[in-house]
């Protein structure tokens, strides 16, 4: 039976070093299988998050040979096993232990986004009529499994650590989902510009490339939001009308 070596970051809170583990490789194995095997064989306290093992829950995000991936969806036959495979935690969040990072910041950010607020039901049965074409766009964003790989790879967070000023691609997608929900009544354009730092994104599309759900984050969520924000805040025609009518448009 073939064997392969995995260099896994072991240690706590930013410290630690890569430790090599060699284990048997069988057909169809994914990186998460290798981690589990290593846990059972020789490293019972090796910390990693996982749940569904089917790419649906977004728990097992890590950096495999430097690439942000879900461990459960990365097959070993896609990797060069003649070299040790490195497995490290995500780098945009505080390291906790081994492959586990502290992702609690993401949960705080979500709470700070103006919540969904529907208009009054308009159909006789107390619900709403929405057509498939109207929900298609938001449904794409709702595929998000909150693996935070897009956050991990975003240079604004990863390299510049602007977590206090920028909500990151995940929550721009979340905001886009709310803004494009056909029955939502809120307007989140001001908070996007002033509090959530949409201007920091310079559309390098790194987030789109790593999304395991293949959401077109930049093209379908961030760019349309940027356009709306600009229209809302800086439209000269609206300003002119505002001056004439005495109604000041949104800042």
């Amino acid at each position: 039976m073939a064997k392969a070596t995995f260099s896994i970051l072991r240690g706590e809170a930013g410290g630690g070093q890569l430790v090599d583990y060699t284990t048997e490789v069988t057909e169809g194995m994914v990186v998460l299988d290798a981690v589990h095997q290593i846990q059972a064989e020789s490293a019972g306290d090796l910390a990693c998050r996982w749940n569904c093992k089917a790419g649906k829950c977004g728990s097992c995000s890590a950096e495999i040979n430097g690439q942000p991936r879900l461990m459960c969806m990365t097959r070993l036959n896609q990797l060069d096993l003649s070299q040790p495979v490195t497995i490290e935690p995500m780098k945009a969040f505080p390291h906790f232990k081994d492959l586990v990072t502290d992702v609690s910041w993401n949960y705080q950010v979500k709470k700070g986004i103006t919540k969904f607020t529907p208009r009054k039901p308009d159909a006789a049965d107390g619900t709403w009529r929405m057509h498939q074409e109207d929900v298609d766009r938001a449904q794409e964003f709702r595929k998000c499994i909150e693996c935070y790989l897009c956050q991990d790879v975003c240079h604004v967070l990863r390299d510049h650590h602007l977590h206090d000023e920028f909500i990151g691609p995940r929550f721009l997608v979340y905001t886009a989902n709310l803004e494009m929900n056909p029955i939502d009544t809120e307007n989140r354009l001001d908070e996007l510009r002033k509090l959530h730092g949409i201007g920091y994104c310079n559309i390098t599309k790194c987030c789109t490339k790593v999304c395991p759900e293949e959401i077109k984050i930049t093209d379908n969520a961030i760019i349309p939001l940027k356009e709306r924000v600009v229209d809302h805040a800086f439209d000269p025609l609206a300003k002119l009308i505002g001056l004439v009518t005495g109604k000041i448009p949104g800042p």
Binding site: T26, D45, L46, N51, A54, R75, R129, R142
Partner: protein, 603 residues
């Protein structure tokens, strides 16, 4: 004195899948303080994996549907040992619970006239499942999560409860540890809702994640609550079988709902050869009619692939045992054949079943628009669980409630696909509502500090013990034993062996040790979960031996037929005074005449 942090809530909800979140939202809405404990991060619970949809007789696609049809479908699927009151409430309330999700931001797939689209599923007479492609569970958990975070609920992520605490008869708190730091938390609460899901990790081949170690069932049992019908476990007919590392991962029933067919290695649609009598009238007798049904023809009957899960799973096992299986010990599930019927079949499949397409493409190198899948049964769901009152969801321990998969009753001997998500909503809401009411009516009582210290010491024992057995090894041995001896086809002699094996495993578990420290240490966590897995496995074995007939998810090779004498009672498991596990048969209360009439009418 052990060190721990204390939190006070009116209602503590343990588990943050669909049922737990819905319960927490309801309790918070009633104006009481609510703590919500989740074993993983918020939004990662098993609900996220549900694929096909949530069953509710809204009648958007077929207006012949109504609660009475849904009610009788649920009883027929459950082989009439269901808690009929729960089946009634579920059928009546599911439509409102589904519509409510839309008001909280969910976006279901739509009908042409802009209403919630509903799809066909096994055992449901009419298209009934509200859905979003094949990721309905994600839609549901995210909707509840995103709504819930604005309701003032205190969320404790990555926290596992080890013990329920009581004073007198009443439950009054729970002891837990957080995964990250390994520190203990004492939750004092007036009422507690258990919504911890199932027991799938007791088996080797399962669609369940590491979390599903029967925590709620075992905690409730330890606290004196009765467990009911633990022999009824659902083996979902379609799990992946190849490659080995993905064995057990679920393949949604939606594949069959969209026209997918089951074939053996001779290319036969073997399900046509075995249609139970009580389903003959509503099942297609030729492939053409079955296809028309999946395409929405109201005059067509459903294809036999959409018979109930217990039956389909057994037929697959039979094909494999008799040498007609696929190369890796399953059968074929074929959706690509629909290109004979539809011009744009490949695109249609990718649109309707996107995550199945990706799952097979990425994990098995199979393009389901071009090749058949190989599938076989996988441990998926337990119909049994904590015995609750149908209306309030309270167990026999005052103040202790249960909802969702951890509770028993709604599904009887076999659950219909799609009835789980609606179960979570209907009974999650009820549990939250009644728990809040209980908390308002009862003063807080303090747990005994001595007991807290003792329980903490017990939980830490595996870390302090040196050179004991590996928890992973004992867990694996348990999983292999349950798979081999108490699986989809059961026999008395094998289960007796399992009972003996279990006693040995319990003994080994007392010597378990985990290396490392308290911080995020999966070895230690596995050691703690192991206790729960052993408790629920013992309950499953005991109940399965006692039911000397075949019914729903419980199939006995030595008693292959259903027996009337077993149709009138549920099995209750509880702890005897001497600490041993005891089983009694409890008669099912008679159904009111009005419900009886409905069952007769719909036959």
């Amino acid at each position: 004195m052990a060190d721990y942090q204390t939190f006070d809530y009116d209602v503590l909800v343990i588990g943050a899948g669909g049922a737990g979140l819905r319960a927490a939202i309801e309790a918070a809405g009633a104006g009481v303080s609510v703590g919500l404990v989740c074993k993983s991060l918020l939004g990662k619970a098993h609900t996220v994996m549900a694929e096909g949809g949530m069953a509710a007789a809204i009648g958007n696609v077929d207006d012949r549907d109504n609660w009475k049809v849904h009610f009788t479908d649920t009883l027929r699927g459950g082989q009439y040992v269901n808690n009929w009151r729960m089946a009634e409430l579920h059928a009546k309330e599911a439509p409102d619970r589904v519509k409510e999700l839309e008001a909280w931001g969910a976006l279901f797939d739509r009908t042409k006239d802009g209403r919630i689209l509903q799809r066909n599923f096994g055992g449901h007479r009419y298209p009934r499942l509200a859905h979003v492609g094949d990721r309905t569970g994600l839609e549901m958990i995210r909707t509840l999560q995103d709504h819930g975070i604005h309701q003032g609920i205190d969320v404790h992520m990555e926290v596992t409860v080890t013990t329920l605490l009581k004073r007198g008869d009443r439950v009054c708190g729970a002891l837990a540890y957080d995964r990250q730091q390994g520190q203990f938390r004492l939750f004092r609460a007036k009422a507690i809702v258990l919504a911890t899901g199932g027991v799938g990790r007791a088996y080797q081949i399962t669609s369940n994640s590491w979390e599903y170690s029967g925590d709620g069932q075992a905690l409730a049992y330890e606290a004196g609550a009765a467990l009911m019908d633990m022999e009824f476990i659902q083996f979902h007919p379609t799990g992946m079988v190849w490659p080995p590392s993905v064995r057990g991962i679920l393949v949604t029933e939606g594949v069959r709902g969209e026209g997918g067919v089951l074939l053996n290695n001779k290319g036969e649609r073997f399900m046509f050869g075995d249609i139970p009598d009580n389903y003959k009238a509503q099942t297609a007798d030729n492939p053409e009619e079955g296809w028309r049904y999946t395409q929405g023809d109201k005059n067509a009957r459903r294809p036999p692939e959409l018979l109930t899960r217990d039956h389909v799973a057994r037929c697959i096992v039979r094909e494999v045992r008799e040498g007609r299986g696929s190369p890796h010990g399953g059968v074929f599930l074929d959706i690509q054949w629909i290109k004979e019927k539809l011009p744009n079949a490949a695109e249609h499949i990718r649109k309707k079943l996107p995550s199945m397409y990706h799952q097979f493409k990425q994990l098995a190198d199979i393009d389901i628009t071009k090749q058949p899948m190989e599938i076989g049964p996988t441990t998926h769901y337990i119909m049994g669980g904590i015995r609750v009152d149908g209306d309030s969801q309270m167990s026999n321990v005052p103040g202790l409630y249960a909802a969702g998969e951890s509770a028993a009753g709604l599904h009887g001997a076999n659950r219909l696909g799609g009835n789980s998500l609606s179960d979570l909503l209907v009974f999650g809401k009820r549990a939250g509502e009644f728990a809040a009411r209980f908390a308002k009516d009862h003063p807080a009582v303090a747990p005994d500090p001595g007991e807290v210290n003792e329980r903490i010491a017990q939980a830490l024992a595996p870390l302090e013990r040196k050179n004991g057995e590996s928890p992973y090894r004992i867990q694996q041995d348990l999983q292999n034993m349950m798979q081999d001896l108490v699986g989809i086809v059961r026999r008395e002699d094998e289960m007796v062996r399992a009972a003996e094996g279990l006693a040995k495993l319990k003994e080994r578990a007392t010597r378990v040790s985990a290396a490392g420290n308290r911080q995020y240490n999966p070895g230690w966590h596995t050691a703690i979960d192991l206790k729960n897995l052993l408790t629920v496995s013992e309950a499953v074995i005991l109940s399965a031996i006692a039911r000397k007939e075949s019914r729903g998810g419980h199939f006995r090779d030595d008693y292959p037929d259903k027996k009337a004498e077993f149709g009138g009672h549920n099995h209750l498991i509880s702890r005897a005074a001497d600490g041993s596990m005891k089983l009694v048969a409890e008669p099912i209360p008679p159904m009111p005449d009005e419900l009886k009439r409905i069952v007769e009418e719909m036959k």
